[in-house]
């Protein structure tokens, strides 16, 4: 277990940036996002969730997957091999770190997504424990401990004047060893403080939901009237899906220019009217009702059926950002999961 004084963080970041591309949370016009670190940047250590979840580092909002040129014959270039830059993601919150596991289930399973795999492999994730979850945070409901992040390569815990760093994987060890000169050994007092933090965690939530039986309950609800009522106020924007750390749908688009062209993969949202629009004009999800149903069924029924986990980590982004306050908390409560603390 290592530690670093917060006053020394700038040096630490500098060293990390020298080793790989470093992303840190920072505030711009009141909005927190991960941005490439640069000298002089103020890192937002106390901000909880960044706006756009870090899934974007493995599954970018827009990426070119191949390009082609028509000449005598067709020339193709596959971009997946380029997705291998060494990177460090600093201060990912435990809920977001938990989301990586969900994404892995989709993209590291067959058919394997090479670009995703390379990015995942080349990125060292440093999680930062949350000492004070927000009222809309309900990660605890998904058995996520905001002071622990088992999926991270390194876990950082804020103990006041210093950050304690715990390497949890080989990748993490490697990074720590690179940074060793700037770190000092944590004392047993520090270790106690970390333990203390972790023990207090349970009591810090104000919001939590009970998901027992949720998946089964939804099994019979595809044709339920419930959706009829729910969808009416959905405006069909992509805020919830784009901000969701576990949403992973994409669209493939062609960008043709004469005899050259590119195929681009970009995020898509099941809330959009054209999400399942087919070329002939037919849409199997013709109204917002089917789309809203799809979103929640996917998160709380289809995904757990398929992968064993709910596709939600309780980060609360959709709760905070949905313009019409139509969020997964509401659905879980209304469908019948017990709700504590609300």
């Amino acid at each position: 277990m290592k530690k670093v004084a917060k006053t020394k963080l700038a040096e630490l970041f500098s060293a990390m940036a020298a080793w790989g591309k470093l992303y840190v949370p920072a505030v711009s016009d009141g909005i927190v996002n991960f941005v490439p670190w640069q000298e002089g940047l103020t890192v937002a250590l106390t901000a909880l969730n960044v706006l756009v979840p870090p899934k974007k580092f493995f599954f970018p909002q827009t990426e070119t997957v191949l390009s082609y040129e028509m000449g005598e014959d067709l020339q193709l270039e596959d971009f997946a091999c380029r997705a291998g830059e060494r990177a460090i993601l600093f201060a990912a919150r435990p809920c977001d770190v938990a989301s990586f596991a969900m994404m892995d289930k989709v993209y590291l399973d067959e058919p394997l997504d090479e670009a995703y795999r390379r990015r995942r492999e080349n990125t060292t994730v440093i999680a930062l424990g949350c000492s004070e979850p927000d009222e809309a945070c309900f990660c605890r409901s998904f058995d996520i401990d905001a002071t622990k992040a088992p999926g991270a390569d390194v876990l950082a815990i804020d103990i006041g004047q210093e950050l304690v760093l715990v390497a949890q994987t080989e990748k993490g060890e490697r990074l720590i060893s690179v940074l060793n000169g700037l770190l000092s050994e944590a004392t047993s007092g520090d270790e106690n403080r970390v333990k203390d933090e972790q023990e207090k965690n349970e009591g810090r939530y104000v919001t939590s939901v009970n998901l027992r039986g949720m998946m089964e309950k939804l099994d019979g609800m595809f044709a339920a009237d419930y959706w009829e009522q729910l969808y009416k106020r959905c405006i069909g924007c992509g805020t919830c899906t784009f901000l969701c750390p576990t949403c992973h749908c994409f669209d493939l688009q062609e960008y043709a220019a004469g005899r050259r062209g590119e195929r681009i993969r970009c995020w898509d949202a099941c809330m959009f009217a054209d999400f399942t629009q087919m070329a002939g004009g037919h849409n199997p999800r013709p109204s917002q009702k089917e789309r809203v149903r799809q979103r929640f069924m996917h998160k709380l029924n289809y995904f757990p059926h398929q992968h064993g986990d709910y596709a939600c980590v309780g980060c609360g982004r959709c709760v905070r950002k949905c313009p019409v306050n139509l969020d997964i908390l509401e659905v879980i409560q209304e469908v019948g999961g017990a709700v504590d603390g609300l």
């Binding site: 706006l51 756009v52 827009t62 009416k232 901000l243 960008y255 070329a279 313009p323």
Partner: protein, 304 residues
């Protein structure tokens, strides 16, 4: 009336979403509090398309202009809506409150005249409301509904400085040098996640099929390319030019905090200066400025 559209309270103190009440017995669920800000007006489109019955709707000053917006765009059958006008002294900004009070401790927030009454833990705190209102409400010129069948209570006075502050931000940005302006906007649009919440929330964006959602021709790339983001925002602003009635919802609900109202207001300012003052949403029968012309109109470009 088959239903009324109003607001209800949800889990958190800052959540007062729109609700469709079909059961008169559930009328007690309707609320009017500092967070009943989201406009219910656009939901009328889907309602009228799917149901022949009459519907009641509660509208604030800004929402009522949305009604006129839809009427002028021939998207609403007025006789099938009963409009309850609610004069509005402004809505609270949860972020501003959060910045001064521990969010988790807040139990209740109410507006009492020009005061905001917060129940924080067991304490009751009273503060001047103005400091905690949404920015858009501070520049609101029409707090009273401009169209309604029944007014719920007496009209309120518009805020004193609403007129002057209306274009303050626009002027500040316009006074920057070209390159500075570009960087300013680049920084703003960089955050745009292309969720289309601004469009989907806007009563002036009421096309059945938005031009950006069409595949052939595809006017807007789906990739989040900076130029395409700019394309989207330019054309969105252009499509509401002369039609935007300044409800400010696009900017308020933008998850990424893009100051869209600055762009809308810039166009309003330009149009007012060039073609005479026009406020959209006050009259459902006239012609928006880009749908008409005068021979002696000035040109905003070198005509030589």
């Amino acid at each position: 009336m088959a239903a009324v559209i109003g607001w209800r309270k949800k889990d958190f103190w800052w959540q007062s979403p729109v609700v469709f009440l079909e059961d008169p017995a559930a009328a007690h669920r309707l609320v009017w509090d500092p967070f009943t800000v989201y406009s219910p007006v656009k939901f009328l489109l889907e309602w009228q398309a799917s149901c022949a019955a009459k519907v009641g709707i509660f509208v604030k000053g800004c929402d009522s202009r949305g009604i006129n917006r839809l009427l002028q765009d021939k998207r609403l059958e007025r006789e099938r809506v009963v409009v309850y006008g609610v004069p509005c002294g402004g809505k609270a900004d949860a972020e501003k409150i959060r910045a001064s009070f521990p969010a988790k401790g807040i139990k209740d927030v109410t507006l009492l005249g020009e005061q905001l009454v917060l129940t924080v833990g067991d304490r009751e705190v009273r503060v001047a409301a103005e400091a905690y209102l949404l920015d858009k409400c501070l520049t609101c010129r029409h707090p009273n509904p401009v169209v309604y069948d029944k007014l719920l209570w007496e009209e309120v006075l518009p805020r004193q400085r609403a007129d002057e502050s209306r274009f303050a931000r626009v002027q500040a940005v316009a006074s920057l040098a070209t390159e500075e302006r570009f960087f300013y906007w680049q920084r703003q649009f960089e955050r745009c996640i292309r969720c289309f919440a601004c469009r989907n929330t806007c009563p002036a964006c009421n096309c059945r099929v938005c031009i950006f959602d069409q595949a052939e021709p595809r006017w807007l790339g789906k990739a989040n390319d900076p130029a395409d983001t700019l394309n989207y925002h330019i054309i969105r602003a252009f499509h509401v030019a002369g039609r935007c009635f300044e409800c400010g919802e696009c900017e308020r609900i933008c998850p990424a905090g893009v100051p869209l109202q600055e762009l809308n207001r810039k166009l309003i300012k330009d149009i007012n200066e060039a073609y005479g003052d026009y406020e959209a949403g006050l009259d459902a029968t006239d012609q928006p400025p880009l749908g008409t012309y005068r021979g002696e109109d000035p040109a905003g470009f070198d005509e030589s």
